[in-house]
Amino acid sequence: MSTVRIPSAMRAATGGAKDIEISGATLREVIDGLVAAHPVLGAQLLDVNGQLNRFVNVFVNDTDARYLDALDTVVGAADRVLLLPAMSGG
């Protein structure tokens, strides 16, 4: 089971839950599991093609998934998945 940290802007869709445990061998399976459990998140997390919405960044143990294997990144127990808005500016 990976633990997914839900950002505050999405917690309305999870009934206020901040950390949710989801099983899945890859990041894609974890995201799919999360959306299955909380269907409203689907519109926020995924685009019409089922790919990650460009306004969402996903981190595995604080590393940007784009530097890993993106949605094919292998995850396991004790991994922490973090969803954050794509936003930065110094």
């Binding site: 460009r54 306004f55 940007d64 930065s88």
Partner: protein
């Protein structure tokens, strides 16, 4: 961190002219205090105005009659009223740069000298608006994720309004920038990692602490402050736009807000709408937007490990990168990729030809103007405004980078070894230089 959320007003500011916040991506409005992304699609929230109403109540004479500073343009900024306390930000000089223009082959070159804001960078503009909003909301602290310039700007703004400041920076940032923030009494948190690591951390912290992170949960307000550069350029030119604007690109927010600023002035009738080409500059060692422009891609790829002396532009995941790319393309501008040696040479050129000492981002911007001229994006007879966004005293080592060999003492090119205090010693030294 368990800081309690302070009590908040029930909704974002709305006046007749100010229509609150709405999502830039899907258009949905949002009135949740301190919301900064759309709950529907996660797109960034932006301030919205009733520009017809602003056009009816604002004209050139009204602006001219006001004191200097960014609040001259208050109707186009997302606060209910100008703040009662704060730094004197904006109304920086727009100066002709004929000597530099001759050097890089630009006929009519202007420098917008934003090295002269209170904390020596354009970030004071953005922070002033964010800080004003923080006061309206009654927040208990200001904070930021910074590549350097924002650290000092946030720390100083917080000092001026009497709030504590928490500044998160990459631990290996230039010492002058860290000292600058410390001088204003800020709590500086040096984070092991890149700016993007710091940013990711602050995104998490912002929603849990209730602090006003100027470039995270106050970002819809913060970003609007950069528009005042466009307003001042247009006003400084006699209420018109130049042919080309050249600006640095880090997150892309400044670049895109320049476009929005000119657009708003045209929509309220203060200027005639004319085409402006937008030229951006990025460091070759961290140029996700420049790389995308060069390859013809519609979107950028992140740069994990920036490798450049241009720390103030070292954002590997630029949130407004797509917007910056689109603006450069739509206006027939360009996004130039500048090697560090060219940046350092440009810093020396501006200083020695115009008497203006710019930090690394300014070197990138001047070098980008020269590159765009060589590429033909800037043409014969064009009137060009180059934005120098920060002061060279913040990056004192940069000008020496790959400097041509010069006689030097103390390891400083251009500086002689100490000379005895006698006329003959100076004579001998001067002869040796001839």
């Amino acid at each position: 961190m368990t800081t309690a959320l302070p009590p908040l007003p029930t909704q974002e500011p709305a006046t007749d002219r100010l229509r609150g916040l709405a999502c830039r991506n899907c258009g949905r409005s949002d009135s949740t205090p301190l919301a900064f992304v759309c709950p529907a699609c996660f797109g960034p929230l932006e301030a919205r105005y009733d520009l017809d109403l602003v056009a009816a109540i604002l004209d050139r004479d009204a602006i001219s009659a006001r004191p200097p500073g960014i609040w001259r343009y208050r109707e186009l900024l997302p606060v209910v009223e100008p703040p009662k306390r704060g730094l004197a930000v904006g109304s920086t000089p727009l100066v002709r740069a004929d000597r530099l223009g001759d050097r890089i082959g630009i006929d009519q070159l202007w420098i917008k000298d934003d090295t002269r804001n209170p904390t020596l960078s354009f970030k004071d503009r953005a922070v002033a608006v964010a800080a004003a909003r923080a006061v309206e909301l009654g927040l208990e602290a200001l904070a930021c994720a910074s590549t350097g310039n924002l650290a000092g700007a946030t720390a100083a703004a917080a000092a001026a309004i009497g709030l504590p400041a928490y500044v998160f920076v990459p631990a290996d940032l230039e010492p002058a920038k860290i000292d600058h923030a410390l001088a204003y009494g800020a709590t500086v948190a040096p984070i092991e990692g890149t700016y993007d690591d710091v940013n990711r951390l602050c995104l998490e912290l912002a929603t849990e602490t209730g602090w006003g992170f100027v470039n995270v949960n106050l970002r819809p307000f913060y970003a609007e402050g950069s528009k005042t550069l466009a307003f001042e350029i247009a006003e400084g030119l006699g209420w018109r736009t130049p042919d080309v604007v050249v600006a640095p690109i880090a997150s892309g927010a400044l670049f895109t807000k320049l476009g929005r600023g000119f657009d708003e002035l045209a929509r309220i009738g203060l200027i005639e709408r004319r085409p402006v080409r937008f030229v951006g500059g990025q460091a070759a060692g961290c140029g996700p937007v420049a790389d995308a422009w060069g390859s013809g891609s519609a979107t950028w790829s992140p740069v994990r490990t920036p490798d450049t002396i241009v720390r103030s532009l070292a954002i590997g995941s630029p949130a407004d990168g797509d917007g910056a790319l689109a603006l450069a393309r739509a206006t027939h501008g360009s996004v130039e990729s500048i090697p560090d040696a060219d940046t350092a040479a440009a810093i020396r050129d501006v200083a020695q030809l115009e008497g203006i000492y710019a930090e690394t981002a300014g070197g990138v911007t001047v070098a980008a103007a020269a590159a765009a001229r060589r590429r033909g994006v800037i043409r014969d007879g064009d009137e060009v405004v180059v934005i120098l966004s920060g002061n060279g005293l913040k990056t004192p080592d940069a000008r020496r980078f790959r400097a041509p060999e010069q006689r030097g003492g103390l390891g400083r090119p251009g500086l002689a070894a100490p000379i005895r205090p006698s006329f003959s010693a100076v004579e001998t030294w001067l002869e040796g230089r001839a």
